[in-house]
Amino acid sequence: MLLVVEQFLNGLQFGLLLFLLAAGLTLVFGIMDLVNLAHGSLYMMGAYFAATFAAWTGSFLLGALLALGATLVLGIVLEMSALRHLYGRDHLDHVLATFGLILFFNEAVRLIWGPAGLALPLPVWLTVPVPILPGIHYPAYRLAIIVVALMVALLLYLGVMRTRIGMLIRAGASNREMIGALGINIKLLYTLVFGLGAALAGLAGLMQAPILTVQIGMGENILILAFVIVVIGGIGSIRGAFIAAISVGMIDTLGRAFLPNLLRQVLSSAAASTAAPALSSMLIYLVMAIVLVVRPEGLFPANRR
């Protein structure tokens, strides 16, 4: 019971982090039609910024806030200097150019921070276990991630659904020509959307930083998961990204936690321990395959092109 609740919360927490990453990715896809592999680099930069600023200021929270601002600025600079020129180009060009950016970012990080990883220590008040149910404790920091990510998701939802800018974003995701026809400053909108996506990725990175080590390439594996989520959720759909992210987070976490035991009941112990790690890492890709067979455009296709 204890384990189930804990793993469930872990899955939720992971899923929410994935959502922060996937939300920016899916918006940039949906609106600018840009495949941005370097999104994972922004996640990594968020973590490095946070570790650095926290060390400078001596405060975790202050460091996190500064890092958030820094990734936002970085995203905007990146969009204005390089990615802007890729709009309207072939997807393959996007893949290649942003692949180049990943090489650049990884190397730049190695140059600035060195090849060894960094650690981002938590303040004491975030390390204590919090009782969530009678007899069940959960780390305060992980709980904080869940709360913050849920709040951001809610804000994002309200922002996209209720505000003028959100309306433009939704209009852009389903019909790109339309916002141009409305006479809106598209350049500015694009820059803002990209900056927002960058900040979300940075937030995911800096929140994950205390749990994992801050290291080069940390954004790459999780980027692929974000891709899977975007594919499952449907390109350009925030709602799809949310549902897919939570599902992927849950399936991945619960699969890794419980699949070995489940397999042990049907297979011999040796066979189970061989198959379990491979199978549990395959799980989400199998889910993706199934979703694709049933709905090739994802669960919530925002645009029909």
């Binding site: 896809f29 890729l86 060009d93 692949f99 890492s281 395959a289 694709l292 067979v293 455009e297």
Partner: protein, 314 residues
């Protein structure tokens, strides 16, 4: 070859260089260059196979490195289990690649555009994780191939020069095959589908069937490259399937010129030599390589072959 063009001349020069390289290596005593170019040729083979689906077929696969791993693991795992014969290892490598291509292709080809790019990427990453989970075969750390594939005296893969020529022969054979395929009935259909799928359906071609077969053929060619790669490094690990490896292959194809016969070879040679050169220049070579890629995308349409073509006209 009726007319002389710059791109033909450069291609011929490059091929002649590849054929004569072992001679130079022997004379100069530079063994390193032979090792380097064996790797270049194997990856050129992989890039050429990717070009078949990407350049001619319009299928933007971002998961091609998976076949390098599948081909490599077929050799490595069989060797570990005591099956050392290349006559078994290589067919198994091709068959495994074909099966993977068939399953992944059937699923991925349901989608198009960005979805296709991401799906192929995700499946390759799945293959990467599966390989990492193979505890019996080294898991994350990979698997040492203690004995190279044995072709019962026909050819000795442990001999550097013989192995080099085997790889070069495979590359040439694959390029000839691609050349024939591209001009065959099948190839015209696949290229027609790249150009206008709706039209091809309307004149009576079931699109997916042809694309899937092309996808599988390309995968098998890359599986061959994988089997050679494992022999070349005497080692196979999940790292060859990592998604950045797929990215490297794409870069080679585009750098050289998509949809041209020799472009991928040119791209592989230039990309890998550039990497080698930059890494000798500075430890932080990717700091230059990254923005260079960006510039190539922004300004270098049609890759090296395109550039050479323009030279000829200009």
């Amino acid at each position: 070859m009726k007319t002389f063009t710059v791109s033909k001349a450069v291609t011929a020069l490059m091929l002649a260089g590849l054929v004569l390289l072992p001679l130079y290596s022997q004379l100069s005593g530079n063994i390193f260059i032979l090792t380097l170019f064996t790797r270049v040729i194997i990856l050129a083979l992989a890039a050429a196979s990717l070009n078949l689906i990407m350049g001619f077929g319009g299928m933007m696969s971002f998961g091609h490195a998976a076949y390098l791993g599948i081909g490599g693991y077929a050799v490595g795992m069989l060797a570990q289990e005591g099956v050392g014969s290349g006559f078994i290892q290589f067919p198994v490598a091709l068959a495994a690649s074909a099966i993977y291509g068939l399953v992944i292709g059937a699923l991925s080809l349901r989608t198009r555009g960005v979805y296709f790019i991401m799906i192929t990427l995700a499946f390759a990453q799945m293959a990467y994780y599966v390989a990492s989970g193979l505890a019996r075969y080294g898991g994350d750390d990979g698997l040492t191939v203690y004995k190279r594939s044995d072709f019962s005296g026909l050819i000795n893969l442990s001999n550097r020069t013989q192995f080099y020529y085997l790889c070069l022969g495979c590359l040439f054979a694959v390029i000839v095959l691609i050349w024939r395929i591209v001009n065959s009935r099948f190839g015209l259909v696949v290229q027609g589908l790249r150009s206008n799928e709706q039209r091809m359906q309307a004149i009576g071609f079931p699109a997916k069937r042809y694309q899937l077969v092309c996808f599988v053929i390309s995968g098998m060619m890359c599986g061959l490259a994988g089997a050679l790669l494992a022999n070349n490094t005497d080692f196979i690990s999940p790292a060859v399937m990592y998604w950045t490896r797929s990215g490297d292959l794409m870069v080679m194809v585009i750098l050289g010129g998509m949809g041209t016969l020799f472009g991928p070879v040119m791209g592989a040679v230039v990309y890998l030599l550039l990497e080698e050169f930059l890494s000798q220049l500075t430890e932080y070579w990717a700091l230059i390589m990254g923005p260079l890629l960006l510039l190539i995308v922004l300004f270098g349409r049609g890759g090296i072959m395109g550039l050479l073509g323009r030279l000829n006209r200009g």
